[in-house]
Symmetry: D2
Subunit: 364 residues, 4 copies
């Protein structure tokens, strides 16, 4: 499998940045789930560049559902979203010019120079639009079963956001924000830092933190198809993600067992943990607490500064300046993709555990 | 898939800590690869508790290869390693007693009380012995193609090891050390801290850092089966791993693009990067630089201190003290498992990319 | 996995008969393979109804390649074909009316009434158009490595075609024929029988026989992912296929071992078999002889005669006459789909065995 | 995947005929299912040679469950069965000697001479013992949900058995018979024909017919993971199976649509079909009628007659006589393997459709 992920609920991603279209096929989702095109459109805007800090390329992301929906509900058969590429400047793409930090060199090694080099081709962040479109359908399906996903920019350009305090309440709010922070004052400082980096011809990175509430316990298929393993697998597909940690994550390395263990207690007749350093997962299986994980997002590799590189056609070292429209940060845009792959993986895990009808909700 | 991982080269893991045996099936590895039982035995000792700091359970880990090897070489058919459980104290395991930080609660949610509770059952670190046995075969296969894997304890109990300087030279050395550090003075300090935690009835965590040299470029199957995604997926199966990061990882979140991008240059006629903040992977595909990643390992959940818990049979809160033999740290033992899953994933990726014969080496 | 098949080379199928479009994503095929749109168009006409014997629905099958091809060659990234549905009569589809022999009842059982019922929806033979489009790309890739696939109507309406004598020569010819028979006189008789059945308001079935020449030996992944198992798995996806047999197939049941065993001999320095009762496969692995298999195709279930049925909405028995445009036979049309899934499975098996570059041919 | 099959419920097969052991890992089966060792033993005897007509190799097939069962019930974790090889005559196996009709040539092509040649190695029918052991567990799980599987020898040496009339009643009976026929008089004639073939130094083939009752409707994952496709895929793994057909199968090719379509009617408030020419499957999804399929089993390739062959070491043509203990027929022994893979595939499909707990039965 290459561009397909999932076992019971699967997604297949296709397209190139400056080709005819990008798109995704969402297969195996339960039948009868309402598909709300306005909601999909809203989710797509969440991955748009924000305010003054983004790329000049502005696309309506006009999507078309070409299969799998009948009378406003999922059929249970493959749901395909197609997003035609508009606003494509067919510039000059000397394929030998390798942009540092991008997939130019590695695509060349793998595809022997035949992959579409225009705008990053198949490796463009543009494909996350398709991912977000089908992710929106998955998010809605989860919501109907009271499973909610939300992500905030936990850190950007060295500035920390506030921490989650009550994800149940914060997630709905986050999902309305174009720049998703829990403390808007910190968000403003982050955007200011992004703007300064842009003025410098540079870019910044950040950390995304995701919470999932309402997730049933007992979900995950260890040893290998653990909740953590499957989520991490998919999250590393989001461009620029270079690290994934659950619960306390790397900070757990410095804790004592007596701190890191989440003490168990009873609450409303259910067994819960007092803390959540394990991020809602033990032994690869969900424990009924909120899932909590963080993704490291590297700074956008496309910068306006001069960089040392090699021309793969001439095999000569040469310096390079990347012209054109670029984001000085993608961490705030990557948020929508992170929500989407999270929703897709959870739908898959839930369908595997409880059957393909479970996501239909009350009737199932 | 639950206990099977891989597409072309696959591993299946089975067994319970206090059942009859643990074992693993390694399928799809190229035929003709020498299988050296002494080397497997040596790898198994690397996951043993070290010196005074480990659990009292000492097993010979006597393994038996019951299929897939003929005249000292792999057949190409499933290679099965069986490790009978010896030294099993069949104590009293009240299944309702939930140990914080363990899989007791989640196993109960998933298996409805039918899973073997003795010694953690299927969720015991004991199963990593089987993983290390087949991992040893995979490591040897990679070595014959000049791909080498090595891991050091980058941090433990708050103490940092030295960084990799020249993995080509450091990896062979690390693979001989029972407590794998690049700077033995720091290792001594770590062990001292572990001992102190043990005296406190507590435990500590750490970070493992892995380097892979000799990895060909162009390997990885994006969007989803990226080198990073597949490695992370498998690494999260190693008990206690709660975070995985590649190259700069979470530190990239604080870098500028101009720092994080790895400038390209020529060296001996090959295109290489001057730095390796991307950990040898761009766009999910290897770039020919060393793979570099780190795993966060949480402190051992089994501690001798009193902990708050719930008895799932009586559904009453009760405090709990875990008696018996336990490790005050597992980070140094997890190292062998990390090397093993790394080798298994790389064999799979290489076989997918270059065919099932590639790992046979010269003849292929 | 539901609508995705394959491991290294995969196809994903989507769409509904009377929805917006049908399509397919072909992923994992080697980069650099020439994509000839005229050839794809020609393959699509092979699945069209023939002459006077087919359905009245005539579609241009205007396809669009929306991803994965750059400058006339495969990129190595997902190749997506989209076929918009034209000529769709949006008639009245009382979803409760269950057509015998169709998937109406079973789709209802699985999708709870939410699947698109119009024209068979996702279960329409219309989706084989998308399969044939991507199958054409796979067929061309195989041809460049001298692997050739061809299918003839071995039997239809009780009339046998001649047998393959020299597939190397017959396959190219078959691939030009709209009604693929080795003996055109028998073909004429078959078409006459089809016409008579149509006049009766009835339909007929048949048997397709496929030969593959140039297939390398040593391909197939037993025990489970055998050449036979994977081909059969995919062939049963072709609508109306109810049986698959390799080599002598069911006739082997009546042979003696001394007849059925294919004696081995040398020819031009290669080990070959004198007969080919095993259809080119032993132990699930190709032996270098032509692959030979046959598919049973049931008569088209849509007939103009009155049939006993049940209305699932009213849960009352009622008789039913299927109006509209229907094929009195699909065996001649199914041929193109059989060729296509065969090519896709073989590309997958070859890429697994020899690596993802093998199909690139000489350069690899 | 090579020796692993299934998605939610998976089996992994390992071992060689004359190696240390053969075995199987059954993963993903619901927890809490009673495991009856006596029943497993009984199922293993069903694949033994019968009376005077079988091979001289008689093994107790002493199996050991080394994981996944605790207090007599499945844990939900991998259940591993190990069967040590006893009664192994370590004869002289000149690996270059290729037995016609066997996997000797193809194993050599795939494994380059490294696979274990003794007694067919990994390709020996001996591995079906392991398949039958885990298959027995799966059969029992299905029975607890009223899904029953039974197979009879529909044809052997040209002699037909009676047809299924009432599978509900016939299946339990068949499962007690060492030579599974519905009409014992025909069975006697078959055994007589087998004996005659043996006297001739020859062998015979046959056809196995399987019925499954109690199968819920709505199960199967089209387009590709259809009930038919998955069953066929797995059935072709049973050694000597060369054809698989569902319902009318190849006979459907000669029927008219008006005959082949199964008219629908109501029975006890459920929608059923009057006939079952489609074998319980439409559009790849079960329809609630009994599953019905047939497997063609070729005559045993090991015969005592002189055969033309090639020595792959010397690359010279030479004739060959296979000495030793061999079956003049395996069709009656293959029955147990067919039942087993059927049960394993159905468990997988049911778990995918209804969740991993469904097979636990009443409690789920």
């Amino acid at each position: 499998m290459k561009n397909t992920f999932g076992q019971s609920v699967c997604v297949t991603l296709f397209g190139e940045s400056h080709g005819e279209a990008v798109g995704a096929v969402l297969d195996g989702l339960a039948p009868g789930i309402p598909v709300d095109e306005a909601y999909i459109a809203a989710r797509l805007t969440l991955r748009h560049p924000y305010g003054q800090i983004g790329t000049a390329r502005r696309e309506a992301d006009a999507f078309r559902i070409v299969s799998g929906v009948y009378r406003g509900r999922t059929c249970g058969t493959p749901l395909t979203v197609l997003i035609e590429n508009a606003d494509v400047k067919s510039g000059d793409y000397p394929p030998g010019r390798l942009r540092p930090g991008h997939a130019d060199l590695t695509a060349r090694m793998k595809y022997h120079g035949f992959s579409d080099p225009r705008g990053g081709g198949h490796f463009s962040g543009r494909l996350t639009a398709a991912l977000c479109a089908v992710g929106a359908v998955a998010l809605r399906a989860l919501e109907a079963r009271s499973v909610r996903v939300g992500t905030h920019i936990a850190r950007c350009a060295g500035i920390d956001d506030a921490a989650f305090r009550c994800p149940e309440e914060e997630i709905p709010l986050l999902n309305t924000l174009p720049f998703a922070v829990l403390d808007e004052a910190r968000g403003k400082a982050m955007r200011e830092a992004i703007r300064r980096a842009a003025e410098d011809g540079d870019s910044v990175g950040g950390i995304l933190e995701t919470a999932v509430t309402g997730m049933p316990g007992g979900v995950g298929e260890p040893w290998f198809d653990t909740a953590e393993g499957l989520l991490a697998h998919a999250l590393f597909s989001v461009p620029a993600v270079k690290g994934v940690e659950f619960g306390g994550g790397f900070a757990l390395a410095d804790m004592k067992g007596s701190e890191a263990n989440d003490a168990l207690c009873l609450k409303d007749g259910r067994i819960v943990t007092r803390t959540n350093h394990n991020g809602g997962v033990n032994g690869g299986i969900t424990n009924g607490m909120p899932l909590l994980f963080r993704c490291a997002v590297k700074p956008t590799p496309s910068i306006r500064r001069e960089q040392s590189s090699v021309n793969a056609d001439t095999m000569r070292e040469e310096s390079l300046i990347i012209e054109g429209r670029h984001d000085p940060a993608i961490v705030h845009r990557a948020r929508a993709a992170v929500d989407s792959v999270t929703a897709l993986v959870l739908c898959d895990l839930l369908a595997l555990r409880f059957g393909t009808d479970w996501l239909r909700g009350e009737e199932a």
